[in-house]
């Protein structure tokens, strides 16, 4: 069975600084998809970034980028120039080629002014 581990339950960062959230996963499959989702306080879960395992290039969306290390089964999220609105729970998610879905337990990120 696939597992997703987020080893940092809580993190904080000063506004305008950079923070990296870690995510590791365990799978025997070669075809899968990885996601980071953001859940602001009392608000809807939204997609931050998506990575296909067959692509070597790291996905980037504005201030958000990933460091995808397939051999190490690591998928960390880097947030540059952190903003107060980035304060949220961040979930790493894995979907296999045969549609097995797993979410990590989440990392609560607080951006401090």
């Amino acid at each position: 069975a696939q597992t997703v581990t987020q080893s940092q339950p809580e993190m904080s960062v000063q506004e305008a600084e950079t923070v990296t959230l870690s995510c590791t996963y365990d799978t025997s499959e070669s075809n899968y998809y990885l996601f980071w989702y953001k859940q602001p306080p009392s608000r809807q879960m939204i997609l931050v970034i998506r990575q296909e395992a067959y692509k070597q290039q790291n996905a980037t969306e504005n201030r958000f980028s990933v460091n995808f290390q397939k051999a190490a089964k690591s998928f960390s999220l880097k947030i540059s120039d952190s903003q107060l609105g980035d304060t949220a729970m961040y979930f790493c998610a894995f979907i296999s080629g045969n549609n097995d879905m797993r979410f990590g337990a989440g990392t609560r990120l607080t951006v401090k002014p």
């Binding site: 987020q6 879960m45 979930f91 549609n99 879905m101 797993r102």
Partner: protein, 113 residues
């Protein structure tokens, strides 16, 4: 455009009662997912529907839980003989297809007294 809509937003009921939670996915989205999120926890996958295929029920925690999707659109999650441990936020998401980014509703907060 309209996003994923869930109703009710909050539900309080007594232990032993049955409850029905509703999800209206984004129009045209063929994949629909149900998750459970306990307080401060990650997402627990419950079930997903893809088009007219038989749903993947592998995540349902017990036979008290069931879900259906009528006409490939609206879905209802039914919990029979509710227990206090069923208290959680139940999230619904939809996507254009499996492996594509999921769009989440605001969830239904279920409280079992």
């Amino acid at each position: 455009g309209a996003g994923v809509s869930q109703s009710p937003s909050n539900k309080v009921t007594e232990k032993g009662k049955d409850v029905e939670l509703r999800c209206d996915p984004i129009s045209g989205h063929t994949a629909l997912y149900w998750y459970r999120q306990s307080l401060g926890q990650g997402l627990e996958f419950l079930i997903y529907f893809q088009g007219n295929s038989a749903p993947d029920k592998s995540g349902l925690p017990s036979d008290r839980f069931s879900a259906e999707r009528t006409g490939g659109s609206v879905s209802t999650l039914t919990i029979q003989r509710t227990q206090q441990e069923d208290s959680a936020v139940y999230l619904c998401a939809s996507s254009t297809s499996l492996n594509q980014p999921q769009h989440f509703g605001d969830g239904t907060r279920l409280s079992i007294l």
